[in-house]
């Protein structure tokens, strides 16, 4: 630990953020896999838990992030003291940027799994309508929700709603790219 505390003060913020990001994301993935929630629900729940409290109680945000970091594999893992030491080296702006990147990474994971999961319930023309800008991503998810609701899958309908929340943390172009890569090939193969 003494070596750690010395080196922390020499480490550039960019490297600190990378180190923290690797630990948090790896631990988060493991915790997500051990949970009963889907990737997209876990992602949406984590992002909202962090975003809701970041300006009200930073301690609770640090506790949550440090928990994930501790659960990371092998050398990626950070104990709470190490995490806090690194976190405290960041300026408020860097912390904000870190969280923004974290939300983005979690949202990408969640949306990737969500689109893989729901693609069979979409129609090719719906995906094309979205990609050509006729309908929004929210509209696309809303159609899925309606389909699930009509077929009596209320829990699926509720879960899919997480897609709308996660889409806020991913750029419009990136979102289209995901649909193009994940949904489109499956639908074209089916046609």
């Amino acid at each position: 630990m003494s070596g750690m505390s010395e080196s922390v003060y020499e480490t550039p913020p960019g490297e600190i953020m990378d180190r923290l990001m690797k630990a948090v994301m790896d631990g988060w993935m493991r915790d997500m896999q051990n949970s009963n929630l889907t990737t997209w629900d876990f992602a949406a729940e984590t992002v909202s838990a962090l975003d809701l409290w970041k300006d009200r109680n930073e301690d609770s945000v640090v506790d949550l992030l440090a928990f994930f970091a501790r659960d990371a594999t092998g050398n990626l893992s950070l104990d709470k003291e190490e995490f806090v030491q690194l976190w405290n080296r960041l300026t408020p702006e860097q912390k904000e940027a870190f969280l923004k990147n974290l939300y983005h990474s979690m949202a990408l994971h969640g949306l990737t799994d969500l689109l893989n999961h729901v693609s069979g319930n979409l129609k090719l023309n719906e995906a094309k309508e979205y990609l050509s800008g006729v309908i929004s991503f929210r509209d696309l998810i809303q159609r899925l929700i309606e389909k699930y609701t009509e077929s009596g899958s209320r829990s699926e309908a509720e879960s899919v709603h997480a897609g709308i929340e996660l889409a806020d943390y991913v750029g419009g172009r990136e979102l289209k790219e995901l649909v193009r890569k994940i949904v489109l090939p499956k639908l074209m193969k089916r046609e």
Partner: protein
């Protein structure tokens, strides 16, 4: 639970403990804002009097709990016990109050994690609980980790106090009992 003076004289330690504990719980814990804290107060009071041989105050406290006159409780209950039985009675009474306090405590964690928080915090609390139940972490670590993760609306100082209460109560319980309580009461 009521006992006549005759039945008290004839009853075993188990029944005595049950009788006194029920009254202590009704008087101090039921309806209290933090029953687990009340349990600790009761335990500290009993042990402090017993360990310092302040039996007069101990008898007065227990008699008051069961709504008996002090002299009656002394003559018909306390004085009928041998020194070994008194020690056994006190130990079992403390254990029983600690179990009841811990049930409230674990239930408070359950409500906080699964009813007040939910979402990812509840999921993580479940994982921490499972790590305790499968022997990866201690009860002490479980309590600290769960409170660190849940209830972001509560200040660190208050949480520190809650953690301390849980760890204090746990001192009076064996590992098997603790695991059983967590398994039964820290459930979604």
């Amino acid at each position: 639970m009521s006992m006549s003076s005759e039945t008290v004289e004839e009853s075993g330690i188990d029944e005595l403990v049950g009788w006194v504990a029920t009254h202590l719980e009704e008087k101090y814990m039921d309806g209290a804002a933090e029953p687990d804290k009340e349990a600790l107060n009761i335990i500290n009071r009993i042990l402090s009097d017993y360990n310092s041989h302040n039996f007069d105050d101990l008898v007065a406290f227990l008699a008051d709990a069961v709504d008996w006159r002090k002299q009656a409780f002394k003559r018909r209950v306390w004085d009928t016990l041998t020194d070994e039985e008194k020690a056994e009675f006190v130990n079992r009474l403390v254990h029983r109050i600690a179990v009841d306090g811990m049930i409230y405590y674990v239930d408070a964690m359950r409500i906080s994690a699964f009813e007040l928080d939910g979402g990812v915090r509840a999921e993580l609390a479940k994982q921490i609980r499972n790590r305790y139940l499968n022997g990866t972490i201690s009860f002490q670590d479980m309590v600290k980790e769960v409170w660190a993760i849940i209830r972001p609306d509560v200040s660190k100082d208050v949480k520190r106090e809650w953690i301390q209460d849980g760890l204090e109560l746990a001192k009076y319980l064996d590992e098997g009992t603790l695991k059983e309580l967590v398994r039964d009461y820290f459930e979604e």
